[in-house]
């Protein structure tokens, strides 16, 4: 019924580079990233809620994360056709 407010940013993750420090999990301020205790790896569980803030990527010393924003998936919601 309603248009979606989900974003379509993507997060590329290279598990082979990850050393399991957990900083990316702590960094996410909107609960996109969860922690897999057993394998000591991040789980990118709610990517549709990502705000492309880049904080997780900036925390990862091993360059295992790349955030790829899809700006067009964010709304402006102004009442002129080009800014919907």
């Amino acid at each position: 019924m309603f248009p979606t407010i989900f974003t379509k940013h993507t997060i590329e993750f290279d598990p082979s580079k990850c050393v399991g420090c957990g900083l990316c999990y702590k960094a996410c301020f909107v609960d996109v990233i969860r922690w897999d205790e057993e394998n000591r790896k991040p789980i990118f569980k709610y990517v549709e809620d990502c705000e492309h803030c880049f904080y997780c990527q900036s925390q990862c010393k091993k360059e295992a994360i790349r955030v790829v924003p899809n700006y067009a998936s964010e709304r402006l919601l102004q009442s002129f056709p080009q800014y919907k």
Binding site: I5, F29, H52, Y55, Y71, E74, F80
Partner: protein, 571 residues
């Protein structure tokens, strides 16, 4: 879904582990180490919140300028006589003390080689200095060292009140749903502002702390100043701070002089209105130009002010090791999206911050305090502007630090009754628990995002929130009423989604407060603009609008601003 239950108790419960919550925790422990302080943070204390996502600039007042001078300037040009001038004075007076405290807590504030502050002049009467973006991490370390207890990934959902006094809070883990009943002698709400989950970076402000305080009966003030809007590039949605000084329409006309004649401290709502007018007149889109040769045509600094843009100093702005990479990643990404396009459009940010507090940051509920972004306009200190930046760059972090110190001192001195809280009656706990978990028990109903979508459709279009008129407000209120209806049968899939449901409901409550107060204020003042009441009305509207939940009903009344006791009065 099954979940565990636990009872906890502490002397001071701090909801929210951003810069405000951390300041209060540290201040209390430094002044009164015997108090047992517990921070409950929805995400991760020190990493969450906003202070580490922004510019990390701090407002700086030259020591040779008297606080009274700045207060006068602020009251006349920014707060438009709606502010609490005493609190603003105290904030300015504490500037150096706050900066020194941040340093003593381990934060990195770059200085010049000779030990003097590295100051960047910004606007009339104001300058800024910087702090590295690990500010809250350093503060978390300091708080931990002092013995502050921290519970992360746990959200505070409801406050318990016993008569007129705070008794504690209900919280749950967003990881496994564990339900906590936390008894506390004092509660500090430090949960940030309401940003309606719209603009990236700002969207962690979801107003659930504000809504919980409202439900508990705390008074709200200046709810109508909850509509901060910035201009942003249309492709990347990257905000352009001070861009309003360089606006052009599609005909190539320089339109900034339509709304300002001298350089102001920051963007004002009339810049957003100008964009709207240009679009309506068919002379959009609006873009920015920075023609170097024409710099003299830009609004000049106001007479007698130090409004140079800081030249070389600006270039050193991100000379901070921790924040640099974070800034760079953002800049590179947005530049590649914009491809040089300078077209702009308003970006709604929100920043409603209405929990009413006094000079100690005490709310109208005994033992309950509110600090930082959740009580910025509620404190009335800044007057007729929405929460930080509040047309005052660098006032966000420092306002939170200021409020945290003031409230920390009051609590450490056991100013309000520090006696043990009454037991929270079992039936009260059961009712709250049932309400919190209800969305998980429903198998059908509305999703959180359905409700959030509706609220955003009401508040985001600028003619419904920044440049308002009765009929447009009515239209928006209709959409909010639809959202309220939809919020009655919210259904959640997991704990993460349950949190989104509570946030969605909080957005409805905040939008309701915003429109109720906005309709009542029949004038334009400061940031608050109405097409149908375009003028400031000092005769009838030197008033604060107070919103309160009385037995489940939203009530509104006005209170006169005690202008007679303040040094600065309108003519």
């Amino acid at each position: 879904m099954d979940y565990k239950k636990e009872n906890l108790s502490c002397d001071v419960l701090i909801a929210g582990g951003g810069v405000g919550g951390l300041t209060a925790a540290i201040e209390i422990k430094e002044k009164n180490p015997d108090l047992d302080v517990l921070i409950v943070e929805k995400q991760t204390t020190g990493y969450g919140g906003k202070a580490n996502k922004g510019g990390g600039v701090l407002q700086y007042f030259r020591p040779d300028m008297s606080p009274a001078e700045f207060v006068k300037f602020h009251v006349e040009n920014i707060g438009c006589y709606l502010g609490d001038q005493d609190v603003m004075y105290k904030y300015v007076e504490m500037n150096t003390e706050m900066l020194e405290k941040l340093i003593s807590w381990g934060c990195n504030l770059p200085k010049n080689p000779d030990g003097s502050w590295f100051v960047i002049p910004t606007g009339p009467m104001t300058s800024m200095i910087t702090v590295d973006l690990d500010i809250t991490l350093k503060m978390r370390q300091r708080a931990t060292k002092l013995g502050v207890r921290i519970m992360d990934k746990t959200t505070v959902a409801e406050f318990f009140v016993d008569g007129d006094k705070i008794a504690g809070a209900a919280a749950y883990s967003i990881l496994d749903g564990t339900f906590y009943v936390i008894k506390a002698k004092y509660v500090v709400v430090a949960t940030g502002s309401q940003n309606y989950r719209f603009a990236s970076m700002w969207s962690s402000g979801r107003g659930d702390g504000i809504a919980a305080a409202y439900r508990a009966g705390a008074e709200m003030r200046n709810c109508e100043f909850g509509n901060f809007t910035q201009i942003a590039k249309v492709k990347s949605h990257d905000e352009v701070v001070f861009g309003e000084n360089n606006m052009y329409n599609a005909k190539g006309e320089f339109i900034t002089p339509h709304f300002r004649s001298y350089r102001e401290t920051d963007i004002n709502s009339n810049a957003i209105r100008e964009w709207y007018w240009q679009m309506l007149a068919g002379t959009g889109p609006v873009h920015l130009e920075y023609p170097e040769r024409e710099q003299e045509s830009r609004p000049a600094p106001a007479e007698g002010t130090d409004s140079k843009e800081g030249g070389a100093a600006m270039a050193r702005l991100f000379d901070r090791p921790y924040g640099r990479q974070f800034r760079m990643l953002n800049t590179i990404s947005s530049q590649s999206a914009d491809q040089g396009s300078m077209e702009i459009c308003p970006l709604f940010i929100g920043e409603q911050s209405p929990i009413r507090v006094d000079g100690d940051m005490a709310t109208s509920i005994k033992g309950m305090y509110a600090i930082g972004d959740c009580s910025y306009t509620g404190s009335a200190a800044p007057g007729a502007v929405p929460a930080p930046p509040g047309r005052n760059r660098g006032s966000g972090i420092l306002n939170a630090v200021f409020a945290g110190i003031v409230c920390g001192d009051a609590i450490a001195a056991l100013k309000t009754c520090g006696c043990a809280p009454a037991d929270i009656p079992a039936e009260k706990v059961a009712a709250v628990e049932e309400a919190i978990y209800a969305p998980l028990k429903r198998t059908a109903g509305h999703k959180a995002k359905d409700v959030i979508d509706l609220v955003q459709r009401a508040v985001v279009p600028i003619e419904q929130s920044v440049y308002m008129k009765e009929d447009r407000m009515k239209k928006a209120e209709g959409i909010v009423a639809e959202a309220r209806e939809a919020s009655k049968d919210l259904c959640a899939e997991d704990w993460h989604d349950l949190l989104a449901c509570h946030e969605a409901e909080a957005m409805v409550t905040c939008a309701e407060m915003f429109y109720a107060a906005s309709e009542m204020r029949k004038e334009s003042r400061g940031w608050f603009l109405r097409e149908d009441y375009p003028d400031i009305d000092n005769k009838n509207w030197l008033k604060w609008i107070i919103v309160q939940n009385v037995d489940g009903k939203m009530t509104l009344h006005t209170e006169d601003v005690p202008i007679d006791k303040y040094p600065n009065k309108p003519e």
